[in-house]
Symmetry: none
Subunit: 130 residues, 4 copies
DNA sequence: GTGGTCTAGACCACT
DNA sequence: GTGGTCTAGACCACG
């Protein structure tokens, strides 16, 4: 999977990488059990410092997305088993309150917004996310 | 409208205020043409630095949500007319890609996600967003 | 609270700091709601780099021990509410299997070992850990 | 005795092996004078590099747990005679300070903790640790 | 002044 | 070669 980083963005680089890896898992571009590049490899591919990649991998590990093998490096957790915890649902709810409010005020109809959701979900369903 | 700020949150205070004002406009809790509290008033109400409030109001003005009168203070723009610019749509698209990906992996079905959208939109429809 | 760091130890510095803060909370040397020194302050007190302290504070935050205020810095979580999760109990069990095995082979009797536990717990009970 | 290695664990593999051998000695699963598998045998059984096993055996030898015969391989020291040296006691004390502090804060009572100790020790007593 | 991000380079433990 | 630790310095966002 090729990562596209926007260096000018206000979103931190490590966050962009995290997002794209999670998207990759959802779409199936990254399969469970698949190896990720080594910290130094990925860093040099993207052209960033390897500490930034370490940070990404550590956060993904702590949230359960990946497993860090002492030897063989990092791989997508083969037993991926994330759940809709109350904390997550609260965050999501808050985010969607803010997001839909602005979308509504900018003239996006409910149908248009739902359409965006469906378009995204269709990328996942076909692949199967577990 | 009463603002609820979480000081421990990772979301910057100025962002929280902005979000809540926009939500307030969408739900109708804040009417177009309505006056907002003065910078110092709001700052002391919430218990924050008034520079933070200035920042919020300036950003809201720049994005077209409010109008700042030199004397009479800040009011919700009576001719609110925000549109779905290409830049906005791109940001929204990117955000929803990331958000739906994680939601999907955490087991939220498309229907559950759409349900969240509808619940929010129903709060807006009745008021009319102009 | 004064932190004692052993620079020659094989235990990473950030781990030593973490341990001592947690001990401090248990003994009451650090009260819930109490402010911790700023990252740069603590770093210069101990004579280490501030990035190391950031790492400590972030881990403590993620585990729920402290809260990081955007402005006022870091404080012991006033609503400290950690529980004996299954994951924790498994880790503890494994650790104690290893620890007691070696202790037993080195001639520590059950009573001596229990005595160590009691001595430590007595430092906590009197203070009350909430 | 069958060794169970967790490759995803944060605990180094060599440490896991060491721990399990020491536990085995304490429980009697490994008898004093008993032969341990050869370096290459154990390495291929577990599926790890044989250097890792060499490291384990060397450390165990240095600490007095095993004896390495040039030809006949490695065996549990028949005259096992480890003592509670001051250095060991200091390490143990420090470890238990940290461990009990977190356990206490997570709601484990003194009795629950002592119970864990007793359960473990009961596995040793019956066998006798010489 | 607070925490956080990114870069860069050295060194270490593990396999 | 793998991840991880520590140092050091620059810069940024926030309040």
């Amino acid at each position: 999977m090729l990562l596209q980083i926007q260096f000018e963005s206000e979103i931190p680089i490590y966050q962009q990488i995290k997002n794209q890896i999670i998207r990759g898992i959802a779409t199936g571009a990254l399969q469970q059990g698949e190896d990720l590049p080594s910290v130094r490899q990925l860093a040099s591919d993207i052209g960033i410092n390897f500490h930034t990649v370490i940070k990404v991998y550590n956060q993904l590990k702590q949230e359960g997305w990946v497993i860090i093998h002492r030897k063989s490096g990092v791989m997508i957790n083969p037993d991926l088993n994330l759940t809709k915890t109350p904390e997550y649902m609260e965050l999501l709810d808050d985010l969607m309150k803010t997001t839909t409010a602005e979308a509504f005020m900018r003239g996006l109809t409910k149908e248009e917004f739902i359409n965006i959701i469906e378009k995204n979900y269709d990328n996942y369903k076909t692949q199967g996310g577990k």
